[in-house]
Amino acid sequence: METFEEFVKRILTILFWLIIVLPIIIFPILFLVVGLLGIDVIIVNEILTAAIDPLKAIKLAERYGLGFSSTFFKIAVFPGFTFAALIATFTILYERKLLAKVQLRVGPLYAGRFEGILQPIADLFKLLGKELVVPEKADKMFFWAAPILSIGLAASLLSVIPLSPTIYIARSEFSLLIPFAILGFSPLVVLIAAWASSNKFAFIGGLRALHQLAAYEIPMLLSILGIVILTGSFDLMKIVEAQKDIWFIFPQFLAAIIFYITILSELERIPFDLPEAETEIVSGWLTEYTGMHFGLLQLGVYMKFYALALLFTLLFLGGWNGPAFLPPIVWLLGKLFFVITIIIFPRAVLPRLRMDQLIRIGWAWLIALSFINIFIAVIESSLGII
């Protein structure tokens, strides 16, 4: 048995020799081979130099259509998937820290020197290292499909939501409606996950999720209708532009509240976390998921979180509008941070509702209120307030 010190020493020795050997022996041989084979040396040269020089790497990427303005970069990195995943992981950490502060605890502390800032990464490695358990009686295809569908849907939600007048993946005349159309799929994902697990608790959780999502999607749609009436457009860009003078949270306060409540429900957060109510039905429709399956489902939920918080910011808080001394994206992210905070906060102070209470709030109260809100919007529109 070698001791840990010996192990580290060995690794360091290998690294040392690699650093010595690579430039002295391997690179000349590589160049020789490349030259003899007659490959365009410049490309190889560029790739090799780009490996050490990030600036050159960017140039290289731009030349091959992968630069900052390319569609691929927009979808995969910023403002697309990677950015959203980063915000999602940040949200998880922020939620844990915020809850800990409310509950007189410290929360994640040790991963990363400062306040456990690397905890999400540690969690990611923990989840990656876990065994993927697929129950014997599970429907294998659906069981595997659910996490992938979940994260796919969450990512596609972001496709048409702009971050600033210049930062967006795609523009559409109906960029307000498309996210809601995609949200319509989420009950299906829950159904697939719950049914594939072939577990009674998962089944009950899935049924609850279906009830809940169906009950809250309608008020969610109706609540944004007021804004559509006021702006006469389904385009998020135009909606944000219309808020240059006054944020819609003021004339459409009722809508903002309804939208906020439905966000909580759509994300299955306390007080609406019945599909995952752990003291009743273990973990609801997530019961049988382990390891990275669970990690993907969780990441999907938090990316949905990010998308909905972003929508709230754009619809009610004026999006990127703000005094010009800061760039628009900073304004947007600042407001987004605030919205994420208020979405997280009920978890610290509220218990869980019961199914019948939740359904009653959804079907009876929120729908009625959103119709009232539509009337308010019509009145405001006809009086020319906006």
Binding site: V102, Q103, A277, E280, V349, L350, P351, R354
Partner: protein, 373 residues
């Protein structure tokens, strides 16, 4: 979900049979076999025994002193509550009596333990309703009372502090100041608890008129402790049949008429205040003096029997000890409140909603280890 050897009818069809526990976040070491029809519970069958050790049999193989740490194991969060009646019964059999100061210290310990146990209950009830802050706060504040009890008993939870003839050692000198400081702090905290939990509209909506135990049912089924008092009966062994020196302190028995889960919550919250009230009075009454009547040699009971009940945190704790003059007790029968409240769980769960299961289950303060012994 195969059941292991028990006659559980899985009817199939519309009805789902759920096995809540023993590996379930919403149960203790305990299984509840629930049949649900849609959202409603149509059948509930408790299946205790997962932590059954045979404490009564084992007590027959230990002498009167060895039995104290043995018998507090089932209820470590209420260690004094479970050993005090045993010690009182043993004292009757050995025929000794504890001096006055020891009786007072026993009362302090019993009430501290009641607070510790109730705070534990409150924390779990919070998390059962999905309120994570209400889990963390009582658990944190419970530490203060554990510190107080530790300064008397020497250990954090399993004190083994009350012995036949008195208590093991005296209180520390500055106990009174420390205790009063803690109580002042905690009384402020109770107000915060009320703000965040007890007066929370969602919490009241979840618990009010849920799991209603009527007065007649409570009497008929033998419900005990706070659950009985929440059904409107002001029965408390500390008043009914005062032991130690409970007849010298003045306290109230909190009761509620409603008998629902919320009433059980509020009764326990008020009992916290009453317990602190009792300790304050005892700290004024207590005077220096001996703390133990020393018994020479091995304790031997006289042939005979004794049955003693006290008010532990969860209700009336009852011991029936039979002695035949040997070193070991001949028979120790323990009747624990959790075991008696178990019958109420079936009664309340059938007909309620599945989502009310945690709200009802933990409002009865069922402690599986105590029930199983």
């Amino acid at each position: 979900m195969q059941n292991a050897g028990m006659n559980i009818e899985d009817k199939g069809g519309d009805k789902l049979v759920l096995h809540v526990g023993p590996q379930h976040p919403g149960s203790g070491h305990f299984r509840l076999i629930i049949t649900v029809d849609g959202d409603y519970i149509v059948g509930a069958k408790p299946d205790p025994g997962y932590v059954h050790r045979g404490a009564e049999k084992m007590a027959e193989y230990r002498d009167y002193i060895q039995n104290i740490p043995h018998l507090e194991r089932p209820v470590i969060i209420d260690a004094t509550g479970v050993t005090l009646p045993y010690v009182l019964a043993a004292e009757k059999i050995i025929d000794v009596e504890a001096p006055e100061r020891a009786q007072y210290i026993r009362m302090i310990m019993a009430e501290l333990n009641r607070v510790i146990s109730h705070l534990y209950w409150l924390g779990i009830y919070g998390i059962f309703l999905g309120h994570s802050t209400m889990f963390m706060w009582p658990m944190g504040d419970r530490e203060l009372f554990i510190d107080l009890a530790e300064s008397i008993g020497g250990t954090r939870v399993t004190f083994s502090y009350v012995v036949p003839g008195g208590v093991r050692n005296d209180m520390p000198t500055h106990f009174k100041e420390r205790a009063l400081k803690t109580f002042d702090y905690f009384e402020k905290r109770i107000e915060e608890y009320k703000k965040i939990f007890f007066n929370n509209p969602i919490m009241t909506a979840r618990t009010e008129s849920i799991g209603i135990m009527s007065q007649a049912d409570a009497i008929k089924l033998g419900i005990t402790g706070s659950n009985l008092r929440a059904a409107g009966i002001d029965s408390d062994t500390r008043k009914d049949e005062p032991y130690c020196l409970y007849d010298r302190v003045d306290f109230e028995i909190p009761t509620r008429k409603e008998g629902d889960s919320y009433a059980r919550c509020i009764v326990r919250l008020e009992e916290l205040q009453q317990s602190m009230n009792i300790i304050k009075q005892v700290l004024d009454l207590i005077e220096p003096g001996p703390i133990k009547q020393v018994i020479g040699g091995v304790m031997r009971g006289e042939p005979g029997e004794a049955f003693v009940r006290t008010e532990a945190a969860r209700g009336t704790m009852f011991y029936h000890i039979v002695s035949n003059g040997e070193k070991y007790p001949y028979r120790v029968k323990i009747s624990v409140p959790s075991f008696r409240n178990l019958i109420g769980m079936t009664h309340l769960l059938v007909g309620s909603k599945l989502a009310d299961m945690p709200a009802i289950y933990w409002s009865l303060d069922y402690w599986p280890v105590e029930a199983d012994r």
